[in-house]
């Protein structure tokens, strides 16, 4: 027993002289070894595609990525940023879609979360019912609403008919398509906001509420001056998570309006536009440029929101 102890190398208790060299090396570098799969994963699936997209955005690649392409510097960026026909309207739609959807989702989400906050009979069932849209596949959701909103055979117009309201074009209308997709997004994602806000609300302590009640604050005053400031960091988390997701929305738009966001590009956001550039037009250079700009927009808005969050926490 004593011999074993003396033979143990001082720098690592587990290595013995008869351990093969590679195992000893592995032991010495195990910190890196264990992290390696994750690092390879991140490099292969995030850093490489991003760098490659960045590179493509500086070339005139088209037709086939493997075909010869020339380095054109920032020409694509100039072209994209001066395109008022497709690019800027797509930016506008992306912003409108995100801001309006987010507004409704946060306000409705807060309302529902406040309702579900205090325990009541059957609360479990109500929660399950409210969370249902969240677990549905967005493409299936898109198809479902597309049927409901069909101007000729859809249920939505039938229901309106019962109240004497004439048929609406919904997704088929040039000006009603975007609001309709926003509605679908709100329908599907408000539950997620509810979930996040509810988590925030339940973690609040009761004491400030009680103190305010004793001081004679009305329920609106208690919400406005006690609950809301306390739950603000969570609200910002919800806005952050949902906002990034809403910016990137693709599935609902594609499932309801198809390629190019409809014949008049009614719901063409940046994501849909970039998809069309690569898969319909095979313009990989321009498409990568749009994606890089889009990526910068997302990073920018994320940064703006997180700095707000830090302020709120202070």
């Amino acid at each position: 027993m004593a011999t074993v102890t003396t033979r143990t190398r001082p720098h690592d208790a587990s290595a013995t002289p008869d351990t093969p060299g590679w195992a000893r090396w592995a032991n010495d570098h195990r910190k890196w070894l264990f992290a390696a799969p994750a690092m390879v994963f991140v490099a292969a699936l995030i850093i490489f595609p991003l760098a490659w997209t960045g590179y493509l955005s500086l070339t005139d690649a088209e037709g086939s990525v493997r075909a010869e392409s020339e380095f054109v510097g920032f020409q694509n960026y100039v072209e994209v940023l001066s395109d008022t026909d497709r690019f800027w309207p797509a930016v506008g739609r992306t912003a409108a879609f995100t801001v309006v959807a987010l507004l409704f989702e946060v306000v409705l989400g807060m309302a529902v979360a406040l309702l579900l906050w205090r325990p009541f009979r059957g609360q479990k069932w109500v929660r399950v019912a409210i969370l249902m849209p969240l677990v549905a596949t967005p493409v299936a959701v898109g198809m479902m609403w597309r049927l409901i909103f069909d101007p000729n055979i859809g249920m939505a117009n039938q229901v309106l008919g019962w109240f004497g309201i004439g048929p609406q074009p919904w997704l088929a209308g040039q000006h009603s398509a975007l609001p309709t997709t926003i509605f679908i997004d709100v329908w599907q994602w408000t539950p997620m906001v509810v979930l996040i806000l509810l988590a925030g609300l339940t973690s609040l302590s009761d004491e400030p509420q009680e103190a305010a009640r004793i001081d004679g604050a009305s329920s609106w005053q208690r919400f406005r001056h006690v609950t809301l400031p306390l739950v603000m960091p969570t609200v910002i988390v919800a806005i952050l998570l949902r906002g990034i997701d809403a910016l990137k929305t693709f599935d609902i738009l594609y499932a309801t309006k198809g390629r190019g966001g409809g014949s008049f590009h009614e719901v063409e956001t940046l994501n849909v536009y970039a998809y069309g550039l690569s898969f319909d037009y095979n313009e990989y250079g321009i498409s990568s440029t749009v994606l890089i700009i889009f990526f910068l927009i997302i990073i920018g808005s994320m940064w703006a929101l997180t700095s707000r969050r830090k302020e709120a926490q202070r």
């Binding site: 592995a26 075909a67 997704l171």
Partner: protein, 430 residues
């Protein structure tokens, strides 16, 4: 402790090693194997070939691995996989007029010059000249046409009789009059329906364009969608859908949506590719199966000029390492026997011998055979601009269609489209 820790490191190394090996493995087993990987589109043709596959596998001892996708998803799949230089597609079903030129230029499609000559009984000269030309690139065959298409007029016999009409319209003027009459009698039934989506509508609009005497590009290669004839065609097509089409019509309809309106009994006339006729005559899919009639495309000022094109073909992927077995599949699937079986099951083929065989047309509705015969006689060999970037070109020349449907000025839209289309052609010629 000692032993356990070492075994953890050992295991994790084994996992890393295994991951590395399996990553290499994917590339290695794609040589000439007994498995042929076939990618097909959702189509009646595919359903038929699926049923016959066991026969092929028995004959050749090969195994077929089938991937089946919708049209758009199929294109995306090719773009992703073939762009990445993947070798895991052997046989590919593709649209010669939509993607043929681009795929051949990108070297996705293998040159089949030797293969098509390899078997006398298979007989490449049996294929119609137009479709063969559409599946060739720089004079070399890169695909074998499997399905041909002509545009015909689908109509409802019962609604016509109710409106007091004894025969389907022979001219576009008669079509408009009949559609107007039927819609006036019952506003819940549209007089006319057709594709309305900017890009999907282009192919079915093309026959209207030709019958008015226009084309997308003139004989000197210049954009010509702003000619008087083209403007009339845009105004006619868009106007007919706007006035006599379904209420609140969407401008995103491709054939599944338009066909649904027709087969739900909500429209009297419908212009569409004949290859989709089973959707209208199959009682399982159509509420109006027993009252559907077919007529040749109505004549315009320039006569009845429907398109007559190969809509789908089979090619061999140039990146495939299993090309000889891939060809075996193509040879079998496009052979005389399979082609006859396909045509009997309702898929119009590109083989002359099958059309000459009475067996080949026996199962078709009689009026459809007559309509097809008329179309193949005067048909135009393309249904969309013949360019590299077809998707982009379709959106440009399709814009006036949706503008006209939305009630905007078709002539002004045609002028705008023509300028954009000429610029597109100039860019492509560079």
């Amino acid at each position: 402790m000692d032993v356990r820790r070492r075994s953890i490191i050992g295991t994790s190394l084994a996992v890393v090693a295994a991951m590395g090996l399996s990553a290499c493995g994917g590339g290695e087993d794609s040589g000439a194997t007994k498995t042929v990987r076939v990618t097909l589109a959702n189509h009646v043709w595919t359903e038929n070939i699926k049923k016959a596959l066991p026969e092929f596998e028995k004959q050749t001892g090969l195994k077929v691995e089938l991937t089946q996708l919708g049209e758009d998803q199929l294109s995306d799949q090719y773009n992703v996989k073939l762009n990445a230089g993947s070798s895991d597609i052997d046989v590919m079903m593709y649209r010669p007029l939509q993607e043929g030129k681009l795929f051949a230029k990108n070297k996705y499609l293998a040159d089949l010059s030797d293969e098509v000559k390899s078997n006398k009984d298979w007989d490449f000269s049996d294929f119609q000249a137009g479709p063969v030309q559409a599946t060739s690139y720089e004079g070399k065959p890169v695909g074998v046409p499997i399905i041909t298409e002509q545009e015909v007029l689908y109509y409802r016999k019962d609604l016509l009789a109710k409106a007091g009409l004894t025969a389907p319209p022979k001219t576009l003027d008669e079509l408009k009059a009949a559609a107007t009459k039927i819609k006036a009698a019952d506003p819940s039934v549209a007089g006319f329906v057709a594709r309305t989506g900017k890009s999907p509508a282009v192919t079915q609009f093309s026959s209207f364009l030709y019958s008015f005497g226009g084309d997308f590009v003139d004989s000197s290669g210049k954009a010509s969608v702003n000619t008087e004839q083209a403007k009339q065609a845009y105004a006619y097509y868009g106007g007919l859908i706007k006035e006599q089409g379904p209420a609140n019509v969407s401008t995103d309809m491709s054939w599944p949506e338009a066909m649904a309106i027709f087969t739900q009994g909500k429209a009297a006339f419908y212009t569409e590719a004949n290859s989709l006729y089973k959707n209208a005559t199959d009682p399982a899919k159509s509420k109006v199966a027993d009252t559907v009639g077919f007529a040749p495309f109505p004549a315009g000022p320039a006569g009845s000029k429907p398109y007559n094109i190969p809509s789908w073909a089979l090619g061999v992927s140039d990146g495939s390492k299993n090309q000889s077995n891939a060809w075996k599949f193509v040879e079998w699937a496009t052979g005389k026997e399979q082609t006859l079986a396909q045509q009997k099951a309702g898929v119009p083929s590109a083989r002359t011998s099958v059309w000459a065989n009475p067996e080949g047309t026996a199962s078709y509705p009689k009026d459809l055979v007559e309509a097809i015969a008329a179309s193949t006689k005067d048909g135009v060999g393309h249904d969309r601009p013949l360019v590299n970037k077809v998707a982009q070109a379709r959106e440009i020349v399709g814009q006036p269609i949706v503008d006209a449907i939305a009630g905007k000025d078709a002539a002004a839209a045609a002028e705008t489209a023509n300028t954009a289309f000429q610029k597109f052609l100039d860019d492509e010629a560079k």
